[in-house]
Amino acid sequence: MSSFKMISKRKIYKIERIVPIRFTRYKGTVPEGTYAPDLDDRGFAKHSLPYGTYAGGHYPIIGVCMGDIAFVNLIRENIDEKARLYVATRSEDFLKILEPSDGLLKSGQEIPIKFKALDKPGVGRIDIHFENKDGPLIGSLEVLISSLLTANCATHITTVKVVNKSKVLEKKSERNDEEIKKMMKIVNEIFRPIGVEFVIHSFPTQIVIQESEIIKNFLKIDHTLLDGRVILFGEQNEPYLKKLREKNIDRMINIFFVNALQYAEKKNDEYVGGEEPSAVSDCKRTIIFPDYKSIKLELQAATLAHELGHCLKLANVDSNRAHSDDSPINENDYERRHDIWSRRRLMYYTAYLDPDVRIGRNGKYKIGTYEKKRGDKLVYRYDGTDVGYGPNVMGRMITIKDLPNDETDGEYARARKALRELFRLY
């Protein structure tokens, strides 16, 4: 007879789904060459998967690449912390449990599991059994194993020169290759669950723009803007963008690191300095990324990953719903969601890197009418750290599940298809 009973920590009602265990991202130190992906643990609805041995189930999913060694945490959610739990897999063709090597999970609320994905794409499953290795199955985690697709990125450390009759003003990005490499390492960790890696090729780039080229389309402009920062007008025929695109490297995503980036806003008959975006993407293959030295690199990398996500069609850029990821400062965005999983998503709107300007109701920006109507209180941080992983821990999830009735979903399949077709002639 068993010495343990399956003890629930809470009273369970008929309408409540019993969840003895859950899975979450591994929180410990991740050794070099191993991974701790954000998993897609949204809800229990039946979903579909791009391919695999299972026709899609109700389980949470973690994405890894062939050959990866990865960690995930098991949480004893509604079960005694001393309950004897075993981890096992019946998908021996796809994965191997490395730790705990005997399958017996330690006592405690949150316990790591280390596993290796084998060299075969597909879907495996990690199962948690109660009491012994063949005991009742009380939870599972699907493991989506992908081949690695790469995208070449030209990273331009850019100097912008503005020339007028009497002088030349210039600004150069202060980034260096080492810093860009560090950023890209973080970016690639974010994209690893969907089997995408960005490979960087560094180029020193200089654009020279005549003042006449800037002002010929726009009658007047505040001349203090013409100092070598990149100015965007949010209109057609962007003169700076045109110059940058001339430097695009063929069959690569082009990331232009520039010293400063600012929108020019029309006030009466003159363009004056406006918003300073943390980065912009033209939804195709050009990203402009300014120096924000005071912001921690992890957050900058998440912003770059977000922009690269646009290149892979991760937000609905092809419809009038525009940024289907949620804009907390756009009153007209009724699709906005604030649940913890939405906030964890890579494509969640991150317009400003400074979290303090985006605290919602009591912050600098007023909240939208929709939220007012619902009486919502937006009091979480917008910098990607208030996502359920604990204080100051960021999350950047790319969805793998394709849940029904949500066209922002299924990012795994969408991104891989977009990457495959990124440079196709037709």
Binding site: T150, G234, A322, R424
Partner: protein, 253 residues
């Protein structure tokens, strides 16, 4: 001198190798062909990129062989490059991929590549595969390939999508007409010059500029007729006068 440089760049996985290979032309072939089966998939991809710059039958042969590579990056790069580097000498071997490849992406894309090549001798193979193709996306690519090579029911099917209720499909079909690239088709775009549905953001994500179906239709009319308009075209939004001028391009025959 270039040979040593090319070898070094390939070892470093430096994409400047493409430029050097192009400068060297056929002289680069022995170096590239020696490395086409390199252990690293990234090097195999770069070798293909270089071969596509050289073109010629040996390069195309290597690109076709790469369609059997186990790495997705490699066969996908080969597909991209076969659109720009191909040769009539390989119509037969390419056609076999349409009916024999277990990979639906390869079956569909190779059919489209054969269309671009004007490979009329492959038509019967593509049609036979189309009749039994189970992958919807691959099947549509085969329809496009056939529609490019002959004015038959497949072309009619593509044109029907210009009236599709989903604006994104109408918009995408305009691009398919550019693939078919027959000037006679330009007149089919005339009604779409009145279609003001906004579909694609051609600006920045935060400051979107929505290109409408009529704007995309104007650009396709310019492409298909080979005529020019007195203003810059491409990835833009056009005013009523400009749309009127595009109508004029068709009515002027």
């Amino acid at each position: 001198m270039y040979s040593i440089l090319l070898e070094k760049l390939l070892e470093q996985l430096n994409y400047d190798a493409r430029e050097i290979a192009e400068k060297m032309g056929k002289e680069a072939l022995p170096i590239l062909l020696k490395r086409k089966n390199a252990k690293s998939a990234r090097e195999r991809v770069l070798v293909l990129e270089c071969l596509a710059k050289i073109k010629g039958e040996e390069a195309v042969q290597a690109l076709i062989e790469a369609l059997d590579d186990p790495e997705e990056d490699v066969w996908n790069t080969a597909l991209d490059l076969l659109y720009i580097a191909n040769s009539p000498a390989f119509i037969s071997s390419l056609s076999s991929f349409v009916c024999e490849s277990p990979n639906a992406v390869i079956r569909g894309e190779v059919a489209k590549i054969l269309g671009v090549m004007g490979a009329f001798s492959s038509l019967s193979i593509i049609k036979a595969q189309l009749a039994k193709e189970k992958d919807e996306e691959a099947a549509y690519k085969m329809i496009l390939a056939v529609a490019k090579m002959e004015d038959g029911p497949e072309r009619k099917k593509v044109l029907e999508n210009l009236n599709h209720e989903d604006p994104r499909i109408r918009y995408e079909t305009i691009r398919h007409l550019e693939y078919i690239n027959d000037g006679k088709l330009a007149k089919n775009l005339l009604p779409l010059l009145n279609d003001k549905t906004k579909v694609a953001n051609i600006g920045f994500v935060q400051k979107p500029i929505w290109q409408r179906i009529c704007d995309r239709a104007l650009e396709a009319i310019v492409f298909l007729t080979g005529k020019t308009l007195p203003f810059e075209t491409g990835d833009k939004v056009y005013d009523e006068d400009q749309l009127r001028m595009a109508r004029g391009l068709i009515s002027s025959g």
